[in-house]
């Protein structure tokens, strides 16, 4: 049976769920199709960083838009998503790195962005007392923070469903086709038809785009994270390093999340990843050196989520360059979680109003394929 809806969203990550919710808020009836369950992959198992800090310039406007939504997330979702705003701090481990930080903040200021702020050793020590004495300063983005990724993605999904979205989990979208102004997608024995199709399928989105004639340079990656046993509270902000791959966050319950982008081997077809402990050992060494207080903590668990990484490290976001009614929202390249709320709002504007006030022009798929529309 074919059911007509206003929009079909493929992919139940935070992006697909957020776009579905914002389409509902705009009065549309969307269907969300997720082959596993909402938040099964990267969106549910990432580090939960809500970060404007250290972003690529083309995605800063979207990140700032998103931050505004994060700060009122409970109003939007009836769920606080465990969002906390204690800032994010980028630590320079030596004077050379601090010089890079200085240049970066100056560049952002020249572009009119003020969310990143250069800090000296004293302010760094005030924000992160436990950091090693040798670090001369860094950058802070004070409104940043962190949230619980699975809780957040699930909350978006739940609210969208409450507002009338149809959520289909456990069966993959297949046989995507376009005919007479409508997109058709099969879900098991059901078919949905809509004038709008949003490709938010994360690590699986590149295949969908390619099948629709818009191949992009994307690979599947699986950044690893590990979490420790509870240790006494010693740090509030999220900490990332300028020179080495490390991100670091202590939760309210005392556990500490250690990430930074070392990669596992993804086995995408099996929904599996195989961890690389030699790389995780590098993260452990970095923490060991920078935070002596962590040395006796135990590693309780490590994992990796499967996601899409673009060759140029910025997402594919906006209308298709070839097909009417098709929109892409994928390739967030290890930093898509914070963008989710804002990207959903902007995507809904693009779909409903045909445009948005948020500057996203550099993120389009037309950077790979000149538009034929």
């Amino acid at each position: 049976m074919t059911e007509n809806v206003d929009a079909i969203v493929v992919g139940g990550g935070i992006h697909g769920c957020s776009t579905t919710l914002h389409l509902c808020l705009a009065g549309l009836k969307p269907v969300l199709i997720e082959k596993d369950y909402a938040g099964r992959h990267a969106s549910g198992v990432n580090a939960g960083g809500v970060r404007q800090l250290a972003r690529h310039v083309p995605e800063i406007p979207l990140s700032i838009r998103s931050m505004g939504i994060w700060e009122k997330i409970a109003d939007l979702l009836d769920d606080d998503c465990s969002f906390e705003s204690h800032g994010q701090v980028l630590v320079a481990e030596n004077e050379d790195e601090l010089a890079v930080c200085r240049a970066r903040v100056a560049e952002l200021n020249a572009l009119g962005f003020t969310h990143e702020e250069l800090i000296d050793a004293t302010e760094l020590r005030r924000l992160v007392p436990a950091v090693a004495d040798s670090c001369p300063g860094g950058v802070v983005s004070r409104r940043d923070g962190a949230a619980n990724p699975a809780q957040t993605t699930t909350a978006f999904r739940r609210k969208a469903e409450q507002l009338g979205a149809t959520v289909r989990e456990g069966v993959a979208a297949s046989n995507i086709r376009y005919s007479d102004g409508l997109w058709y997608v099969d879900v098991g024995s059901d078919t949905y038809a809509a004038p709008v199709l949003v490709n938010a399928a994360g690590a699986w989105a590149g295949t969908i785009a390619a099948a629709l004639g818009e191949p992009v340079p994307v690979e599947t990656v699986a950044p690893m994270l590990m979490i420790t046993s509870r240790v006494p509270h010693f740090i509030d902000p999220v900490v990332i390093l300028r020179g080495r791959k490390l991100s670091f966050k202590q939760f309210k319950n005392g556990t500490v999340l250690i990430g930074g982008g070392h990669l596992a081997t993804p086995y995408q077809d099996r929904n599996e990843t195989v961890l690389d402990w030699k790389s995780l050992a590098i993260s452990a060494r970095t923490v060991f050196e920078l935070f002596p207080v962590m040395r006796s903590a135990t590693i309780v668990r490590a994992w990796a989520g499967i996601e899409a990484k673009m060759k140029d490290d910025i997402p594919v976001f906006g209308p298709s360059s070839r097909h009417k009614g098709l929109y892409h929202q994928f390739g967030f390249s290890l930093h898509g979680f914070q963008l989710g709320p804002g990207a959903g709002a902007v995507m809904a504007e693009l779909i409903v109003n045909g445009g948005t006030q948020t500057r996203i022009g550099d993120l389009g798929i037309d950077r790979f394929h000149p538009s034929t529309l």
Binding site: G44, Q151, R158, I227, R270, W277, F288, R301
Partner: protein, 472 residues
């Protein structure tokens, strides 16, 4: 003394030195395969033959003749060339057969052509009201103390639950002069009828005579209450009373120690973390790996033997260990396999060892009220999550154990779901009107036992890192 593995590569790595692991490692090494046996305890034996090489209990009859069979297995292992490392915790195994081991506070990595998992069983969770109070422990923990240190209870002691191990422990405690005030048997009356059709096989199995005489021995010395349908422990920060209902009548008795046991289930953590497919076993009410007749799992190169392959008891474990090892020898050194016992012989041994198992599984299938708690009863001890908390999360959209983690952190503490996993699966299945198979289990991840950050930080750099530094 603890030592690191001598090599980085082995033909066969056997994990666990209980009955299955001891038998597997001996066969593999005798056939000339380079064999590494890793075991977490201070000596070989696993739980059944715990402390077999070191127990202070010298009067053989106190632990029973079956226990001392372990000594022969240890002897054959020692006569072989297998490399054995005790106090070695395997904290990671993946589908590439890369194995991470913690020995003496330092981690090492080895790679195997074949892995035989013999990680045995765990006691099934017994989530009754008050089960987390100090003074309440599992029968298995009590047995560990008894075997390794000859320690037996001397305060007011109640044993509650069911299953062969419960009676074995009771007999062992009594023989060593320990105190038991009452045994509360939770076996469901209906199970006796359900088990009846399988009784013939059991009557002709070695379990029958031994089991019967053990129960007689215990019943002669301790008051046994059968048909217990409700059970709870209470006390202010410490166990004070055990309360139960039998035959519709409630009774409360003061106690210092409550030992709980309702059977054992496969210890699946390492196998699941390696990606081995498991299925829900509706008779044994637990997850068991999907295996072929040789014990080979869904992950190429990983075989599982012993109770980790599905509960079968010590005799079956020994044979399953031999079968898995023989299959490894056939694959890696076919010429050497000719000297080993034929596969057909081993399969006949296994059939014999498994006789009567269905009877036991049916008779001692735990009752729902002792597996699926309600209200304020704790489900997840690490995060102090109650049955009601789980049901509340289901009501707002948690569909399985992995989604539940996001709501309640169940299974995310140090025990990695060992104490709550089955309870969570069955509780959510009941709440959602689905089968446990549909509900699924936690996705388990390494490290399957926690390691310190300092230990991980001290892991030697890989050869590539070293070369990169040298090239500078």
């Amino acid at each position: 003394m603890t030592v690191a593995p001598k090599h980085e590569d082995y033909d066969v790595v056997v994990i666990g030195a209980g009955p299955a692991g001891l038998a597997a490692a001996a066969i593999s090494a005798e056939a000339g395969l380079s064999t590494l046996l890793l075991d977490e305890n201070i000596g070989p034996g696993g739980q059944v033959f715990r402390a077999i090489a070191s127990t202070p209990v010298t009067e053989r009859s106190q632990l029973g003749a079956d226990y001392w069979v372990g000594a022969d297995l240890v002897q054959s292992l020692r006569a072989s060339n297998a490399e054995v490392i005790q106090r070695a915790t395997v904290w990671s195994l993946d589908r590439n057969l890369d194995i991470a081991i913690s020995v003496g506070g330092a981690s090492a990595f080895v790679k195997a052509k074949r892995v035989i998992l013999a990680t045995g069983a765990l006691e099934r969770p017994f989530p009754i009201p008050g089960w987390t109070l100090p003074g309440v422990m599992t029968a298995g923990a009590a047995q560990t103390m008894l075997k390794s240190s000859a320690l037996v209870p001397d305060g007011r002691t109640v044993i509650a639950g069911q299953g062969p191990l419960l009676w074995l422990l009771a007999a062992q405690i009594l023989r060593l002069g320990g105190r038991i005030d009452r045994i509360l048997d939770t076996t469901e009356r209906g199970n006796y009828f359900a088990a009846l059709p399988h009784a013939f096989a059991f009557l002709t199995s070695p379990y029958f005579a031994k089991g019967l005489s053990m129960m007689r021995e215990v019943k002669a010395k301790v008051q046994v209450v059968s048909g217990v349908t409700e059970l709870s422990a209470s006390g202010d920060g410490q166990l004070a009373n055990v309360s139960y209902v039998a035959g519709g009548k409630r009774e409360t008795l003061p106690a210092d120690l409550l030992l709980l046991h309702q059977g054992v289930v496969p210890n699946v953590n390492l196998a699941m973390a390696a990606g081995v497919e498991h299925r829900w076993d509706e008779l044994q009410l637990c997850w068991s790996p999907v295996l072929d007749a040789n014990g080979s799992s869904s992950v190429a190169g990983i075989a599982i033997a012993g109770d980790g392959a599905g509960i079968g008891g010590a005799n079956a474990a020994v044979v399953r260990g031999r079968i898995a090892a023989r299959a490894a020898v056939e694959a890696l050194a076919p010429a050497a396999a000719a000297k080993l016992p034929a596969m057909a012989t081993l399969r006949a041994d296994l059939a014999k060892a498994q006789r009567g198992r269905i009877f036991l599984d049916t008779l001692f299938r735990p009752a729902p009220q002792f597996r699926i708690p309600s209200g304020d009863t704790i489900v997840c001890r690490c995060e102090e999550v109650t049955a009601k908390d789980v049901l509340d999360s289901v009501a707002i959209g948690a569909t399985g154990p992995n989604q539940l983690k996001a709501y309640r952190r169940t299974g995310m503490g140090p025990c990695q779901g060992r104490l709550c996993g089955l309870t969570v699966t069955e509780l959510m299945a009941q709440a959602r009107g689905k089968s446990p198979q549909e509900i699924g289990y936690y996705r388990l991840r390494a490290p399957v036992k926690p390691i310190t950050l300092a230990e991980l930080a001290a892991v030697p750099k890989s050869e590539d890192d070293v070369k990169a530094v040298v090239r500078g």
